[in-house]
Symmetry: C2
Subunit: 410 residues, 2 copies
């Protein structure tokens, strides 16, 4: 089953915000066995909405529209839906009840005419009721399927999930499998040469993609079908052949999720001493609900004074070796573990740019260290790209290193 | 001038990554006076690329395509461009020279056949040379304009900037003005009622959008034209009328940029004590190049032990008031400033969810405190939404509060 997403959002078109709604939706569609083929971001303009809906419904089975369902004049989705489906708006009693209840729960009393008008919905639409906002989901089943959802992320997520659960009961949806592995330090073109025959002889059900990143190339095999075991078999058969040709590693799609689960299911604690990553590691850890049960905290030591006074790094050590050195990274991870009394710890120190580097270590040089009860390991990396990209790579690499150590404790 | 963006990226369609490239491009287009009307994300499929290019070039002046320019079999953009423009590939000497130089600079020696093939470009395209990667930008000027760029973000950014600078010299581009203000604690529908007449009588050149967020509604006025002063006058005239109707605040679009500039241009330093924001504030600060000159660092105290031992919060105080309290927030900001010897400091403590809250303070309760040489202020907030949304609101609010204090020092 093929799907398209239509995001109605001027604020994305002027670059004010990123389209994270579309990412959430396409991921969820994939999880439900529905393949997302197009994502459109369009203006809050009635004719643009109608044209794009028409284009999408003509070629795809399911169209998901977000945005433009609010009570104000720039919210035009309902009118555009009436244009397209040759429909008109009628008051829906259930929706009106939900709106009144929602306002009551917020202690707002009397509702305004504009809010009452949110209970006007296209007569041909099936309603998905919204208990956490005022705009319901609007579902049209007209040989193809269209659902319109509010653009507010948590309302959209809640309604989409309800919709897909009911949709799944009606339709037999396949299983979509993506398997990503990565190969280090071989340029994309050279790798493609090495894999020429393997790629040519891939099972026809499989699609291969090369995704280059600084320092590595990810290879993604994708397939879909109703027999999950057969898909897994297909992919593993090809990976066995691939193993003969090149050294690769499995990409832990949810590497951090695995780390989080490990700490949550065991009685271990974690702390961080960040220099060049500047909070990116802590911020990722604490983005997970439940991290407070194992994450003790961090010291972000963004200058040498702080490294000396709060991470007990010897002044002379920094003078001799600079703070971007193996020894300083190791002391940082060791000392934060001791101070915060944690079983595992991570430290980072390096040059994220754009200026700097020193005589020995150019821009992009980073040392990452992991400390455990048994080990104090450290690795040196040379990352490329801009500041943002370097910080992201440091964060991801730190989690990879931590995961390697965690595996020994499983 | 109207533009469209076409992102060729399977990894966005399966929800593996967010389309940050499109955000960057649409923002930059706006800054150059070009209005972005559509963003398409499509598969790496030759016919889809041709169809979408055709659709886009038929209705827009400028089309920006990203992705699919690599050396492997799943890179189909050049072939699709040849299909559409009825063109064929020829070897470009300059591009070949750039590829050989690029590989030399990376110490890779001989280049492979596949890399040589990257020097094959559509004969009708003008080339934008790429010194930081292997794929050049490809520009077609055929009464409308199309440029194809690699999908790797830092290569794309570099080439797009070069392209738009040269484009700007050829065309007289207008000025696009967006002004966003926000109104607190009035529901969107009620606000729209209050502004009914104002909105109806807005100058025809202005477009108004309502952008609701938990706790506030942003109002955005947009217009474009060649006389910058006239646009500014138009907008300020309407804002004066708006002031009679409702209390609003100016959205500092680049609030953090202003904070960064303040610290960079003055001799003040900054430190942070984060609890519920878990590194989000530090991470934002350190995402700016140059922050190391004023940001001393942070203590992320994700449990009470750490608050007691490293931020010197009295155990009894936490026992009596819990750590989510005005007093604890104030002590946190005061103590981090003392310990890290910084002129300004921020602290956060609260319940980001999903579980928790206590008898007095429900989920979403957050105290934020700012410490300066003169002041130690604290505010209590009740944020709604999921964990991610609450953390984002805490971060933004902390920067707003810091900015209020900074203004007194200007």
């Amino acid at each position: 089953m093929k799907a398209e997403i239509i995001s109605i959002a001027d604020e994305i078109l002027i670059g004010q915000i990123v389209n994270t709604n579309a990412t959430f939706i396409s991921k969820l569609l994939n999880d439900f066995g529905i393949s997302c083929e197009y994502i459109h971001t369009i203006k809050d303009a009635r004719s643009d909405i109608v044209c794009t809906i028409s284009l999408a419904l003509n070629r795809s089975d399911l169209v998901i529209v977000t945005g433009g369902l609010g009570p104000t004049n720039d919210d035009l989705t309902k009118l555009a839906l009436c244009d397209y489906f040759n429909d008109s708006l009628i008051e829906n009693k259930e929706v009106l009840f939900d709106i009144v209840s929602f306002f009551k729960s917020k202690g707002r009393g009397e509702i305004s005419q504009l809010n009452k008008e949110q209970a006007l919905v296209p007569s041909k639409a099936k309603i998905f009721r919204n208990s956490i906002g005022t705009a319901p989901g609007l579902y049209f089943n007209n040989h193809n399927h269209l659902i319109a959802l509010p653009g507010v992320p948590y309302e959209m997520k809640y309604l989409l999930n309800n919709f897909l659960l009911s949709f799944k009961q009606e339709f037999k949806l396949p299983y979509i499998l993506h398997k990503t592995v990565f190969v280090r330090n071989i340029p994309e073109s050279q790798l493609a040469n090495m894999l020429f025959d393997w790629e040519k002889n891939l099972d026809a059900k499989l699609k291969l993609a090369y995704l280059p990143k600084p320092g590595l190339v990810r290879l993604r095999l994708s397939c879909s079908g109703y027999d999950k075991d057969e898909l897994n078999y297909l992919v593993s058969k090809e990976l066995i052949k691939l193993k003969e040709l090149v050294v690769f590693e499995n990409e832990e799609v949810d590497l951090f999720k695995k780390i989080h689960d490990f700490f949550n299911n065991n009685n271990y604690s974690l702390s961080v001493a960040e220099s060049c990553s500047g909070g990116a590691i802590s911020s990722k850890i604490t983005s997970f609900a439940g991290s407070s049960s194992y994450f003790k905290g961090a010291i972000i030591a963004y200058n040498n004074e702080i490294k000396e006074s709060f991470l007990d790094i010897n002044h002379k050590l920094i003078e001799e070796l600079t703070s971007v050195s193996k020894e300083v990274a190791q002391k940082m991870s060791k000392n934060i573990a001791q101070k915060f009394n944690s079983d595992f710890s991570i430290s980072t120190t390096g040059y994220a740019g754009p200026s700097a580097g020193d005589v020995k270590n150019p821009l992009g040089t980073v040392f990452i260290s992991i400390n455990t009860a048994e080990n104090n390991i450290v690795s040196k990396y040379l990352f490329s790209g801009d500041r943002e990209l370097i910080i992201t790579q440091v964060r991801n690499k730190a989690f990879e290193m931590l995961y390697e150590e965690i595996k020994k404790h499983k």
